[in-house]
């Protein structure tokens, strides 16, 4: 599977790129691929209801002062935060014809990230009813997926060295009573982002091969 490591990409550019690639994938002009990016500070909203707008706790002037943009997306889920130190993966994969199960797809994404955490000696897992990857009652990685004619977009956001303080701007994914964490916070040391990327690519290949 093709992997494109794009580094720091503004959220709207990544969104536009995904939309193009989904059309290309639907038309069969490209194969399955995985985009890996990091975003500048941004809050993204889902499509349901108010998209999680009510879960933004900070007033607009606070967001502006901290250079945090707000974008509407086409993905499922509630409001979430992206920013430096977070590895964001956007798989553009055609689930047709033999992987047509969105639950299985989400569970597979979780599986990739659980394996990455295990590489660092961290026991991560699932919480029934709450999509994402959790360590205890703290969320290590968020998942939000969109499917169009069985082609996937959006994906996962793994906190590597994310400044977790930014999550205080929101109620992450509308779940108020649980916190967030990162690999660095769990390990109590700095973590090399490139190394995490490499591990994500390897496990992604294993799970989705």
């Amino acid at each position: 599977m093709e992997v494109r490591r794009l580094g720091r990409v503004p959220y709207p550019e990544a969104l536009a790129l995904q939309r193009e690639l989904v059309v290309e994938r639907q038309a069969g002009r490209i194969g399955d691929l995985l985009l890996l990016v990091e975003h500048p500070h941004v809050l993204t909203l889902g499509v349901r209801g108010d998209g999680g707008r009510s879960h933004i706790l900070a007033p607009a002037d606070v967001l502006a002062a901290r250079s945090v943009d707000v974008f509407e997306t086409g993905r499922g889920g509630d409001v979430t935060y992206h920013g430096p130190g977070q590895l964001v993966g956007y798989p553009i994969i055609d689930l047709n014809p033999d992987r047509r199960d969105v639950h299985r797809y989400v569970r597979d994404l979780e599986d990739v990230l659980i394996r990455v955490a295990a590489d660092y000696g961290i026991e991560a897992g699932r919480v029934p009813g709450l999509t994402g990857v959790w360590v205890g009652d703290r969320k290590l990685a968020a998942i939000g997926v969109r499917i169009a004619r069985w082609v996937t977009s959006h994906g996962f956001a793994l906190n590597v060295t994310t400044d977790l303080d930014y999550f205080n701007l929101i109620v992450p994914c509308g779940v108020a009573d649980r916190g967030v964490t990162s690999l660095a916070a769990l390990l109590g040391r700095d973590v090399d982002g490139a190394e995490v990327e490499t591990r994500v690519v390897r496990h992604f290949g294993d799970v989705f091969s």
Binding site: G46, V47, R48, G49, R53, S54, I56, L57, A58, P59, A60, D61, L63, A64, V70, G74, R75, G76, G77, R100, D101, V102, H103, R104, Y105, V106, T131, I143, G144, V145, R146, I147, A148, R149
Partner: protein
């Protein structure tokens, strides 16, 4: 040939999906594989493409509705089967065969005049009609598009004499307790009715953002910290100076513009209320206003007010928000011409710079005498108050 669009099977363990939004509406043309709607299931959103080209002739599930897999969501029909000319299309769509078992989104047809009238009345009106055993369909509606309003029901009852009967029926049945009014109760009762008869009461409600004041209060030491009410009284005093007609009285055919700004603050007492007056409120600074309110309220509750304390008011502030009211529609304290009711000051979601934020908010309602105060003047006064409170400074220009 009509084609059904069903809730797709998005996975083995998935039995239902929720409709996020429809991208087409009834009557729209759609191509095969063009997205028709979006559904969601457990953090995954999916587009549902149309299985055929044609016209959307039926949409059978609402946005937000959760529907089981394989349930019919919409019907697509070939354009020629619907109609050629656009004018006929609408008619054909309207007469498309109904599917009663699968039509939760279809509006229920009105089955009788009563139902039709009922659909257009508020719960209050229906309750009122039910209490008096009145058939709403018998009442002529004067509201929007012939809607039957509360007043229509009351008028109807008055005409038919039912209101009088209903009103008397509840008085002093066996076992009820009858107690003469206290002197204070009687005075309040007379005063309220007099005021209602005297002034042409109108109310206007402003929402005020108290977040700036909340911040100022937070930074103050706890001892002697001014209450929100003190800020409001001080802001009102300044606004009264700017809009003198609010600080007036009616004397026969004359309007008396008062030189002094004396603000009464209603204090609830057991079995009634009293309105001690802060004299020359516009000449006092915030700590002084705050101390005066605390002093008067304390003495009101311990019954140590002097007649002088309750005389000479030119405007009144009442605080139903203290007990949780969002806003009140107060009756003017005669011979004054306006009264301000302060609603609950509480944290609420509010839009600030196009984003939702938690802000300290309250509704301030002004009751004013429309005989001498025009709506624009009252609202001008209220915007002075709002401005002073939202941009609090020691002495704003």
């Amino acid at each position: 040939m009509a084609t059904d669009v069903v809730m797709p099977q998005m996975g083995e363990s998935i039995t239902e999906g929720t409709i996020v939004r429809w991208m087409k509406k009834v009557g729209d043309r759609i191509d095969r594989d063009e997205p028709l709607l979006e559904i969601t299931t457990d953090k995954v959103d999916a587009e549902v493409p149309s299985p055929a080209s044609g016209i959307v002739v039926q949409i059978l599930a609402k946005e937000g509705e959760t529907v089981s897999v394989n349930h019919v969501l919409a019907v697509i029909d070939a354009p020629d089967a619907v109609a050629g000319a656009p004018a006929q299309k609408a008619a054909a769509v309207a007469t498309a065969p109904a599917r009663p078992a699968q039509a939760p989104a279809q509006p229920k047809p009105a089955v009788s005049m009563d139902d039709a009238a009922r659909d257009r009345t508020s719960p209050l009106v229906r309750k009122l009609a039910k209490e008096h055993h009145v058939d709403i369909s018998q009442i002529h509606g004067t509201g929007i598009s012939g809607r039957v309003t509360k007043y229509d029901v009351l008028d109807y009852l008055e005409q038919t004499g039912q209101a009088a009967q209903a009103g008397r029926a509840g008085l002093a049945k066996p076992g009820d307790r009858v107690e003469p009014m206290s002197v204070m109760r009687k005075k309040i009762a007379d005063h309220m009715v007099l005021s209602r008869r005297t002034s042409a009461h109108v109310h206007t409600v402003f929402e005020v953002n108290f977040s700036a004041i909340a911040g100022i209060r937070q930074a103050m030491p706890a001892a002697g910290k001014p209450t929100y009410l003190a800020f409001i009284v001080a802001a009102v005093a300044r606004a009264l100076r700017a809009v003198p007609v609010i600080n007036s009285s009616v004397d026969g055919d004359s309007v008396v513009y008062h030189k002094d700004i004396n603000i009464g603050v209603a204090v609830a007492l057991e079995g009634g209320l009293i309105v001690p007056v802060i004299k020359h409120a516009d000449t006092r600074d915030l700590p002084d206003v705050s101390a005066a309110i605390a002093d008067l309220a304390g003495r009101a509750r311990t019954k140590q007010l002097t007649p002088e304390d309750v005389a000479g008011g030119t405007f009144t502030v009442t605080n139903p928000g203290m007990l949780g009211a969002q806003f009140g529609t107060p009756i003017i304290n005669q011979p004054q011409t306006a009264i301000l009711a302060v609603g609950a000051i509480e944290k609420r979601p509010a839009v600030v710079n196009d984003a939702l934020a938690v802000q300290t908010m309250a509704y301030l309602a002004l009751g004013f005498d429309h005989r001498i105060i025009d709506g624009a003047v009252a609202d001008g006064f209220m915007s002075h108050v709002k401005q002073a409170l939202e941009h609090w400074g020691p002495e704003p220009a």
